[in-house]
Symmetry: C2
Subunit: 337 residues, 2 copies
DNA sequence: ATGAAAGCGCTAACAG
DNA sequence: CTGTTAGCGCTTTCAT
């Protein structure tokens, strides 16, 4: 790897001149500029970014923290994130946390020691003060999907309106004649699931229906637990005529259980998902549900973060936090009647 | 962020002493060691990795290049890769290439300028000399899945035996009574697909069957093209009684098309996939097929790369390339009769 | 407009 | 065993 010194000596100028023409925010004589550029060409010189980072105190690197990249929800978000980060000259470091706080903390320390420019985290659970602290320490930070109500207006967030989305979905189910609507609830530590649940209940109530706890499945361990729960739920004397799953992975295992029981979707029971992951349309029957703009969420998070980074650069402090509420749609395919 | 100088002054020693106790490969008086550690504790000091990198000429960072992280095949590989890289103290930079050579080249340049320690690429197509050059330039490099026959023994690779896997899968189909076995072929620029095709043909031939080109679908644009191709294939006077898809995403769209035609799987036609992506077992019916150890492929690639990195560190040159051939299984679920 | 020199934070000779 | 010093490659005052 050739360095700036070499280029300087070839061009017959000092290293500062080389630096100046490359950074382009200083006036340089046209003649010398030419000479330098020539030398750069000839040597195929690329400035050493490590040295640059050390000098400048920033790394053009951002960190993306997800529970697991193998989960399609996150892999689609990350795709959007990485695409726009890259387009803006940033590289992204991927961190799978497996929802292990220790691992998160370790990672955060390592990242700080590398002068990372900012963090996007999709894996916040509960308080997780060490995450919120990031912003207080001056790091640009954005939370996707998993954040607490108390984070709103305090930290940048991106998500859909989970209450509204769930409400509309259930309203649709009611309007299309469903009388007994079940619900597959996710972990209640997560605000987003509490909101989806609230939307489910409110829609029922607003349409003169009751919230029947015997129709609600609560996640105990992993997503797989819904397999058995669905089987027992559907074996009750009065099974539901629709099940609204609070996420697509849950909807997938629910459909799987239903098929294994020989039940027909949607004739025997409708199924509605939440996410609209790529494969949702490939299921049999193709899954209806709330569609989150996953790719776009990644994009917006990247923009939000990059804005914070450049704002901080010029103003010396972080801009006011913004809440990015994205639009969700209800897409009806064939798993609902 | 506190730095080494500060720690030194608090401990009342020189910065080199601090460096020595922290790196631990020099003998230091127990007394002073204590003092330093105390100062480190008190200040919560973390060595600046950017400075360390600049000094040492390495970054403890490795680059993972995939066509698209939104593709479950790659997201599962990346999960395995990231897990083991992290466990070994490396961070991983994720690069989605969208199979755009320009984007790959740009990325590579940027990575080199950061003194990246090594590359894992899952996105090599055809020659792609600029990828192979990496190894010649002295960079540790491993290729997962997508490599050419000519790369074997020249660059580290990890994959399953694609010929054998496909051969065995088709043999199974024949043994279970299928007479007209169709095939969904992937892009023939990729050696791995040529091998799977070869395995398909060879199995047919070895069992006294002919390779009937009218039963073979060739990918034209993206995976979606198999939707229409499946429909026309199944509308022929003598449709196949089984379809072997050269990858799970293809199998998914094929099943989708079959369902839309009202055909039953496996009663009317069996479907066999290749990959055994997480969701394969969630399909209706659950998909049979060749199972690649995706997570493990990521793991092995990480180990292979890390070995190269440390070997190079001590020997000044890369070790001989190794071909990692992983074991694949045939998992039979309910999409085959 | 250009060069010399300081310094980002660290490691590793080299002295002592 | 410990301190001093010279860089790693770059940017940026400060002179000229």
């Amino acid at each position: 790897m050739t360095n700036i010194k070499e280029v300087a000596s070839i061009a017959g100028v000092s290293i500062s001149t080389v630096s100046r023409v490359l950074n382009g925010r200083n006036v340089v004589n046209e003649e010398t500029r030419k000479k330098v550029l020539e030398a750069v060409q000839k040597t195929n010189y690329q400035p050493n970014l490590v040295a640059q980072n050390l000098k400048m105190g920033r790394s053009n690197t951002i960190c993306m923290m997800v529970p697991s990249i193998a989960n399609p929800i996150f892999s689609e978000i990350v795709k959007g994130f990485e695409d726009t980060a890259q387009r803006n000259g940033f590289i992204v470091v991927l961190c799978n946390t497996d929802e292990d706080p220790k691992r998160e903390i370790d990672y955060l320390e390592k990242m700080k020691a590398r002068w990372i420019d900012g963090f996007v985290v999709c894996s916040k659970i509960g308080e997780a003060k060490y995450i919120n602290d990031l912003r207080e320490e001056g790091y640009p930070l954005v939370l996707i999907n998993r954040y607490e109500e108390t984070d709103i207006g305090v930290i940048d967030t991106v998500s859909v309106d989970n209450f509204r989305s769930a409400y509309d979905a259930v309203k649709y189910l009611i309007r299309t004649g469903h009388k007994r609507i079940g619900f597959a609830q996710g972990r209640e530590q997560l605000y987003l699931y509490r909101e989806r649940y609230r939307g489910y209940c409110q829609a029922l109530l607003d349409h003169g229906m009751e919230v029947d706890q015997s129709l609600i499945m609560y996640e105990s361990y992993g997503t797989d637990c819904f397999y058995h729960m669905t089987k027992t739920l559907m074996s009750r004397p009065e099974p539901p005529d629709a099940i609204f799953a609070s996420s697509d992975p849950k909807a997938f295992v629910i459909m799987h259980a239903l098929h294994d029981m020989g039940l027909r979707i949607p004739e025997d029971v409708s199924v509605l998902g939440f996410d609209n992951v790529n494969l949702a349309s490939m299921m049999e029957p193709p899954l209806s549900g709330v569609s989150q703009p996953l790719y776009e969420m990644g994009t917006v998070a990247a923009q939000s973060l990059i804005y914070q980074i450049s704002y901080k650069e010029t103003h010396g402090e972080l801009p006011a936090p913004v809440r990015n509420l994205l639009r969700s749609d209800l897409v009806i395919r064939r798993s609902t009647k």
